[in-house]
């Protein structure tokens, strides 16, 4: 599990590991089936060692085996902000970008529409570059075929960003 995803899910409020896992499962649906139960705890303990989260023993809740509550440190908060503003592509992959929008909306860190807009601008720049390169290639060269693949993939990604925008439009009114 991507460390930043776990950090960003904590930005809303300090949480137990099982709460984080439930929220991730809800956000990812069947795509998250491959996520194994222990992964999130491994990630949380790494983040704790790195000083990005701190862990407190929670009082009460005797029916829960997991009593640790995780919270972001100041360093962890910085890392989350950097991650939200990062427009690299194609990494983050789809799930990571999806979770970025969910986490940003849940914690009120940023407007998902603004994140989508920034990502779209970045993809359009890449599309422009790929297309310039494709236009400069001789007709039917091998290299042009690869560039066409890049262009088609970027177009698909841009269409998904349109879907993200439709989904998140008006989210404040719905919540």
């Amino acid at each position: 599990m991507q460390q930043e995803v776990v950090l960003a899910m904590l930005a809303k409020e300090p949480s137990h590991g099982y709460e984080l896992r439930a929220r991730l499962q809800q956000a990812l649906g069947p795509a998250g089936d491959a996520m194994n139960a222990g992964q999130i705890y491994v990630t949380l303990s790494r983040l704790e060692k790195a000083g990005l989260v701190r862990c407190e023993q929670a009082a009460g809740l005797p029916d829960r085996p997991d009593r640790k509550v995780y919270a972001l440190t100041a360093d962890g908060q910085h890392r989350v902000t950097d991650w939200i503003n990062d427009t690299s592509w194609p990494r983050p992959g789809l799930a990571e970008f999806h979770l970025k929008l969910i986490a940003a909306a849940a914690a009120g860190l940023a407007d998902p529409i603004a994140i989508t807009d920034a990502q779209r601008r970045e993809l359009l720049r890449r599309l422009r570059d790929a297309q310039r390169a494709a236009m400069a290639e001789p007709h039917r060269s091998d290299a042009a075929l690869l560039l066409e693949g890049i262009v088609l993939r970027l177009q698909a990604d841009l269409r998904w960003l349109e879907a993200c925008e439709r989904h998140w439009t008006g989210w404040k009114d719905r919540t």
């Binding site: 970045e122 359009l124 720049r125 890449r126 297309q131 236009m135």
Partner: protein, 253 residues
């Protein structure tokens, strides 16, 4: 000095719209297809307007090009008020100042490629010889000199669109307006059209393109996103960072 050059000197936009609105129907059935659009397009600029179907982008282009009348608002082209023009002046403007490119090409089936291209020049009062010379030159420019005598039915979709682009240029328009120009084209023909637009842009032609094709949008100087009849985002795509193409092809981490 032509009007384009004068506009560059004076620094006013070539095309300007203020408070543009277009309503269809009325009362409960009122649809505001274009809802309060302000737009400035500089001479030599390529502007793309994108948005989902039904967002009003085609209607907007029709208003800007004088193909349709606005319900409210003002439009200037090269300093002339377009929205207040009478029908005859508007028809002249469409013929001489604006070149149109449509998704479905809109070529005359019974005319050859070169006849299609020269038609607007003839309507604008050029001599048949001058019109033919210009049309032949433009067909050469779009790579179809050897197809001049062909009927549209004997041409591929991409070739028809290149004929339509040559036709749009024949009267030396101040602005070329294109409505989904690659909507009916495969990927190779799209690249041909993009190359042509790129060449026009380099030659200083002003272009306004409405499209939902991201490939065209990415080649514009300025990209405007439209939703529900209004502009929601404007982006300058010139300059800025660009990722490595290798990373996009999976070559590096």
């Amino acid at each position: 000095m032509n009007e384009t050059a004068m506009n560059e000197l004076s620094g006013t936009p070539l095309l300007r719209a203020r408070g543009l609105r277009k309503d269809y129907g009325k009362d409960a059935g009122l649809v505001r297809a274009v809802d309060g659009v302000d737009l400035d397009v500089d001479a030599g600029e390529t502007v793309a307007v994108t948005g989902p179907s039904g967002c009003g982008k085609s209607t907007l282009l029709h208003l800007l090009g004088g193909l349709d009348r606005a319900s409210a608002g003002e439009i200037w082209l090269a300093g002339q008020r377009v929205d207040e023009m009478g029908e005859r002046a508007l028809a002249r403007l469409r013929r001489e100042a604006v070149g149109f490119v449509f998704q479905a090409f809109h070529l005359m089936d019974e005319l050859t490629a070169v006849e299609n291209v020269e038609l607007p020049a003839l309507l604008a009062g050029r001599s048949p010889r001058a019109a033919r010379r210009r049309a032949a030159g433009l067909l050469e420019r779009v790579g179809l000199a050897d197809r001049a005598g062909f009927l549209p039915s004997a041409l591929s979709g991409g070739q028809r669109q290149r004929v339509a682009i040559a036709r749009a240029l024949v009267a030396d328009p101040l602005v070329v307006m294109a409505d989904e120009p690659t909507g009916n084209l495969d990927s190779e023909a799209t690249l041909d059209v993009l190359r042509l637009f790129d060449g026009l842009h380099a030659a200083g032609q002003t272009l306004v393109i409405v499209t939902h094709d991201a490939r065209i949008a990415a080649t514009a100087d300025r990209l405007i996103s439209m939703r529900d009849g209004a502009f929601v985002d404007q982006t300058r795509l010139t300059g800025g960072t660009s990722g490595s193409l290798g990373a996009l092809a999976g070559l590096e981490g």
